[in-house]
Point group: C2
Chain length 161, copies 2
């Protein structure tokens, strides 16, 4: 596989994670962390299930990866995530020194890698990341559009009952 | 107690937490979350102990508070923290909808509430916070200065041996 094919391969795993979230009624966002070609963490958004505000897919994956490597420094890793990270998750990426981040769709409302801020490329911080966006973006974004459309229809039906 | 005295009262608890961190060889930062005058969470930085990149004082306190309240929405709460939050922790404050944040010293290197960014007052996000800085700032900052000075001296001594 070439570079793009590899990125798509791992993004598909992140999409699988996002689908697991959707099946639980969670906003479908998934993340995977890879090191030397090995998947060391995979997680999906669990905010409603856990009622814990910080259980975004990326944060859960970062914690798993730290446990797996026994270190808060996630050197030589790549984080794949279906949606552009929010400030909390972008900050967690900086904290864990992840060198490369690949994401699917942009998040125009809270995305802090390209949309509202460029937190992963601010030279005032002690870490910067290589970033690649737009990998299987239509599929990643489509999951979210579909999820929110279904949610709105459900709410409408409830009102009619 | 008036408003300032109350803020100082809870900041002292956050400083106690920071001291617990220092005793473990951790960078001394502490946080407390209060709701209706009751302390519902208190935590200190545990990054080295846990080897988990996201175990900052604020993030641990937010998770405790979510568990305590059984909700990811920390309504009617105040977060006290000895140091200006980093992007990850500022993001977690937004995610958990904490309405008020009180902090001690500024963090000129990574602070994202006033120093490098003003993440808690960006109207593009779906939440903003009331922020108060500079509460027992000298004491809060002094703990950090003292910690890093001791660390440098320790390293020097090691080199001489």
């Amino acid at each position: 596989m070439n570079g793009l094919e590899l990125d798509q391969h791992y993004m598909k795993m992140a999409i699988e994670e996002a689908n697991k979230a959707a099946a639980k009624g969670e906003v479908p966002i998934g993340a995977v962390i890879v090191r030397d070609g090995e998947v060391i963490a995979r997680a999906h958004n669990l905010r409603e299930t856990t009622q814990n505000a910080v259980t975004h897919a990326e944060l859960l994956a970062i914690q798993q990866a730290c446990e797996e490597l026994g270190s808060w420094r996630l050197e030589n890793t790549i984080l794949y995530v279906t949606l552009e990270p929010c400030p909390m998750c972008a900050g967690a990426i900086l904290q864990s020194r992840i060198p490369r981040v690949v994401y699917g769709a942009r998040d125009v409302k809270a995305g802090s890698v390209d949309s509202l801020y460029r937190l992963l490329n601010d030279e005032r911080f002690n870490h910067q990341c290589e970033v690649k966006e737009n990998v299987l973006a239509d599929e990643c974004g489509g999951l979210l559009t579909q999820f929110f459309r279904a949610l709105r229809e459900k709410k409408k039906k409830r009102k009619l009952l």
